[in-house]
C-alpha cells in the first residue's frame, strides 16, 4: 500500500542512499539518457516505495534510476542516466 500522502519525488531516496553514499544524492544532477534534460535527483518523479524505487525524468518519463533495497543490500540501476554531476561540498573542493 502506498496510500499515505508522502514524498513523491527524488527527495525520498535521500535516506536510503545516505547509507551508501558519502554525499547527499538529492543534489546530484542527472542527465536523462532519452531526452538529455538535466535535473537535480531530488526533483525526479518517484514511483514505487522504499523497497523498489524508480525515478523518472520529469520531462519525458524515461526511467533514469532504479534503487532496490532488500535482504540487506541496495542495488542501483542507472542505465537511464548518461551522466551524474555532483556539486562538491565546500570542504572537498
Amino acid at each position: 500500500m502506498i496510500t499515505d500522502a508522502r514524498t513523491a519525488d527524488g527527495n525520498a531516496v535521500a535516506g536510503p542512499l545516505s547509507q551508501i553514499f558519502a554525499f547527499d544524492v538529492t543534489r546530484m544532477i542527472v542527465t536523462c539518457s532519452a531526452c538529455g534534460s538535466e535535473s537535480p535527483l531530488g526533483a525526479l518523479r518517484l514511483y514505487g516505495d522504499t523497497m523498489g524505487m524508480v525515478l523518472r525524468c520529469v520531462r519525458c518519463g524515461e526511467v533514469n534510476l532504479r534503487a532496490l533495497q532488500f535482504n540487506g543490500i541496495i542495488s542501483l540501476d542507472a542505465r537511464g542516466a548518461t551522466r551524474m554531476t555532483f556539486p562538491l561540498p565546500a570542504n572537498l573542493r
Binding site: I2, T3, A5, A14, G15
Partner: protein, 264 residues
C-alpha cells in the same frame, strides 16, 4: 545537453550537515493538533547534528512479524542543532503509517528515525534572495520550517507565502502564520481556498492560476528563490507557470507529495 562541470542547472543550495548514518531511537515527547486530522509530533533524539529548513527525516516501523515500512517526512521545526525534531503529519484514512503515527503512538513511545536527509529542497537564512513559498495542502510543512527559521534569523530576506487549502478549517498553522505576519518583518501571506470559503473570507477562492501568481509571487526581475511543495499535479502546474513568468528553473525548487506514481 549541458557541458560536464559547467551545467547551468546546478541550483544554489546551502551546505547540508553531514547526515547521521543509520537509525536511532527517537522518543515522542509532544503531540499538538494543528487541523482536523493533522498533528505535529515532536521527537527527542540521542544525537542530532542539526538540520536545514526543508530537510527530511525517515521513520521506520517494524511489526511483530518483521515487516517494515519506511516513510520520509519533512521536518517542520526550524533549522538548528537542538536534538528535538518536529514533523507534522496528515492522517490518511487508508494509509499504512500515518494512522499509526497520529492515533496509536503515545507520549514516551520510541520509533526508529534516520536523518536529517536531503539537501536539494533546502533553504538557509544566509540566502539574501527574496523567498517565495507556494504550498498546496500539507505541502506547507517544509515551507513552515523555512518561515520559522527565517523568523529566528538576524537578517531576513523579504518573503511571501501563497498557500492553497481546500477549506478554511484545513489551513495548517493558520494562527501561527497570522502571528508571523503581524510582526511586519517583510513576510506576507496570501491564502486561497479551493472548495468553499466562510462568508467573511477576504482571501482568494480558486486554484493557483497565472493571475494569482502574477499578483502574489515576486516578479522574476527580483530574482527570488521559489519553493513549491504540495501534491504532484499542483507542484508541476505551478512550476510550469513560474517558468512561463520568466523564472529560471534553477531557482524553482519542487517537492511533491502524494501517492507515488499517480497524478493527484
Amino acid at each position: 545537453m549541458g557541458i560536464p562541470g559547467a551545467s547551468s542547472v546546478i541550483p544554489a543550495m546551502p551546505e547540508a550537515p553531514a547526515p547521521l548514518r543509520g537509525w536511532q531511537l527517537a522518543t515522542l515527547t509532544a503531540i499538538r493538533d494543528e487541523a482536523p486530522s493533522v498533528k505535529t509530533l515532536a521527537f527527542s533524539l540521542p544525537q542530532w547534528a542539526g538540520h536545514l529548513a526543508g530537510q527530511h527525516i525517515d521513520l521506520r516501523l517494524t511489526t511483530d512479524d518483521g515487516y517494515q515500512a519506511e516513510r520520509s517526512y519533512s521536518i517542520a521545526s526550524p533549522s538548528g542543532h537542538i536534538p528535538l525534531v518536529e514533523i507534522t503529519v496528515e492522517r490518511i484514512a487508508d494509509g499504512e503509517v500515518s494512522p499509526f503515527l497520529t492515533e496509536q503512538l503515545s507520549l514516551g513511545d520510541t520509533i526508529e528515525l534516520r536523518g536529517p536527509v536531503g539537501g536539494y529542497f533546502t533553504w538557509s537564512a544566509d540566502n539574501p534572495a527574496p523567498l517565495m513559498l507556494i504550498a498546496g495542502g500539507s505541502g506547507i510543512v517544509p515551507l513552515m520550517s523555512m518561515l520559522r527559521t527565517r523568523a529566528r534569523a538576524a537578517n531576513r530576506p523579504p518573503a511571501r507565502l501563497l498557500y492553497s487549502s481546500r477549506n478554511f478549517e484545513e489551513i495548517v498553522f493558520r494562527s501561527e502564520l497570522d502571528g508571523l505576519v503581524v510582526t511586519q518583518d517583510g513576510l506576507s501571506v496570501a491564502h486561497t481556498l479551493t472548495r468553499g470559503a466562510p462568508a467573511n473570507w477576504n482571501g482568494e477562492t480558486r486554484r493557483v492560476d497565472p493571475e494569482m501568481l502574477a499578483k502574489y509571487a515576486f516578479p522574476a526581475t527580483q530574482a527570488p528563490h521559489n519553493f513549491i511543495c504540495g501534491p504532484t499535479a499542483f507542484v508541476e502546474t505551478v512550476a510550469d507557470r513560474l517558468v512561463a513568468l520568466g523564472h529560471p528553473e534553477t531557482v524553482i525548487k519542487t517537492e511533491r507529495f502524494g501517492p507515488t506514481g499517480e497524478r493527484a
